[in-house]
Symmetry: C2
Subunit: 366 residues, 2 copies
């Protein structure tokens, strides 16, 4: 019985490879067909997802007899060179060759890790993304960024390697914890803030439906987010220039994640605070009005995203973490700012005193 | 005092990046100027080369104050993920960021290792090749192949990442051991066999000058070899098709290297035997004449390259190593054969019985 249901479909016209994104329900038939173009398929996932979905979703051997499974421990801390080496070992022992396909089945961690393994095993083999979190569907599964962490920092080693296809199956969102869902919504709002006021307004107007996880509304949000991201990737695949705007809210977000040792915030929550800081900075510059700042504060609160920094955080230490940012160029942070809602610019320098002021205000919000 | 002397210069028009190759003497001024375009330069080399050249060649700090040195152990067995991790650690501790430059100073091992570190550190930073062996000058420093070894096989993990420039300084050849020099000549002869009868004939006619390492003759051979390789890389950067012809003689060569645990042959020596086998196979097919086989045998002998397989080698075990070849596609070895001297083709399958016969004959040569 074939019953896959594609709600939206789009192409990412990346310079090195154009590929489709499928957004829908019960997409197994679609990706099984895709798998069957390859003589060998290695599906990489984590133990939590494997146990959750092994019956029936990952029970592929009847239809895809050439599949094998590579199962890693669940968690960001396993996105390291040691686990990567284990993945390579599995590939060789399962006789994966250059004609094989790797499927990354999971959230951003699995996508990054399996994607980087694909980018480098035998100098690059094909892979697909099957994202299982909203954050991965709206952001990390698209655009070809892959990475692992070093002890010295997150995503310090990686490659640009576009997937052959992305299969975003909304059914996985049914079981997604609410904090993770909301963290994904934050990245969708980001596209609105930097590229499209109307998309931002759509999210605000439909917030109740989004909270209820209405399939059609969420599918639309994923589709639009992918469309915005693919426009950027088409123009600047390897982040030599304008792709930098996707880091809006991320400079301070990364500093907060790093300051809290990645134990306190989900990525999207840290980005929420980073975004709020940049909106607040926009008000200081006279480019955004205070009313919008209050509205944005309210939407964060609605989605249970943090609108303030805890009172015991040391602002000077957060600023120190800013100065280790991997995205520095010529020793300077790459700031992305809003000229207005839906219009961003990048490449300005901002004095740390300004940031200190904004962060101090975010602390008082609490 | 500026006294660099460029004898030849050419561009490699790779699709992802066009870059220059400089061939000459005392090229330090040229690459120092290049280094000074970057705010940070990490020079990767091995302990042997560092001790040999630290005065005056690698004594760069007066002219390039932003340089730092990353020194790894000398040897193919150190081209592994453990040493790679140490290199990453040095980069982070020396605050190498995305605007930095990595210089690979050494032979093929250093080029592969430092190249792969450059391809993956922060998702890719610029690098240059400063090859110190003839093999690296005619082959491995050009074309952007980078790799490390796994316990499970050579070059099993890697990336295509073109250098910003290649600086081939003939002065390094003065101290190159004779076996290594001759192994480099084998790769140059390969270009002749697969692409240009006249270049092959040039090498044969000038063999005495080559053996004496006449600078002009050797410079010409490097220049022509790079020209042939860059033509191929321009058409097929990532080895989807015709770049495969560069593997002429390498299928059996790799099997011999792997059979002997990489302890017995230099790479070029194993390729010499692999090439002789394919020439012999060409005679079997009636495409090459026996006289040429004898001439080729003689030129191998002249350059002290092995014209026979030791009597105690087990042919059936060598064939087993053929079947583990990384370059297999859809389970089959990718053979490259000669239609005539200077004209190659790829993609045919060859029965292992044929190969067994040819290898048996190579054993009798001894």
């Amino acid at each position: 019985m074939r019953y896959s249901n594609i709600i939206h479909q789009l192409m990412v016209p990346a310079p090195t490879l154009s590929y489709p994104i499928y957004i829908g329900k019960r997409l197994q038939d679609i990706y099984k067909d895709f798998f069957n173009k390859y003589p060998r398929v290695g599906l990489v996932t984590n133990d939590t997802l494997f146990n959750l979905y092994k019956i029936p979703i990952l029970d592929l051997r009847a239809d895809v007899p050439q599949v094998f499974y590579v199962i890693v421990n669940d968690g960001e801390k396993y996105k390291n060179i040691h686990v990567l080496t284990q993945i390579y070992k599995q590939f060789t022992s399962k006789k994966m060759d250059r004609d094989g396909l790797i499927a990354a089945f999971g959230g951003g961690v699995i996508g990054d890790l399996a994607g980087f393994a694909s980018a480098t095993y035998m100098r690059g083999v094909d892979y697909v993304q099957i994202p299982t979190t909203l954050l991965a569907m709206v952001d990390s599964s698209v655009g070809g960024k892959t990475a692992i962490n070093l002890a010295e920092g997150k995503n310090m080693v990686g490659a640009f390697h576009q997937p052959q296809a992305v299969f975003s199956d909304l059914d996985f969102l049914d079981t997604l914890p609410v904090r993770e869902f909301n963290a994904g919504i934050m990245e969708a709002m980001k596209y609105g803030l930097i590229m499209s006021r109307s998309f931002y307004d759509y999210i605000c107007k439909n917030k109740e439906n989004i909270k209820k996880r209405s399939k059609d509304t969420v599918a639309y949000i994923i589709h639009q987010s992918c469309r915005f991201k693919s426009e950027i990737v088409a123009q600047d695949e390897k982040e030599k220039g304008m792709r930098a705007i996707l880091n809006f809210g991320h400079t301070i977000g990364h500093a907060l994640e790093s300051y809290t040792d990645y134990q306190f915030y989900l990525h999207g929550e840290a980005v929420a605070l980073g975004t709020l800081a940049m909106v607040s900075y926009g008000v200081d510059r006279g480019l955004l009005d205070r009313k919008f700042l209050h509205e944005f504060f309210d939407i964060l609160t609605f989605f249970q995203l943090p609108p303030s920094i805890p009172a015991d955080f040391k602002i000077d230490r957060i600023l120190a973490h800013l100065s280790y940012d991997k995205k520095k160029r010529r020793g300077k942070n790459e700031w992305v700012t809003l000229k207005q809602i839906g219009v961003s610019e990048w490449g300005q320098s901002i004095d740390y005193k300004q940031i200190e002021k904004v962060l101090g205000r975010l602390q008082k919000n609490g």
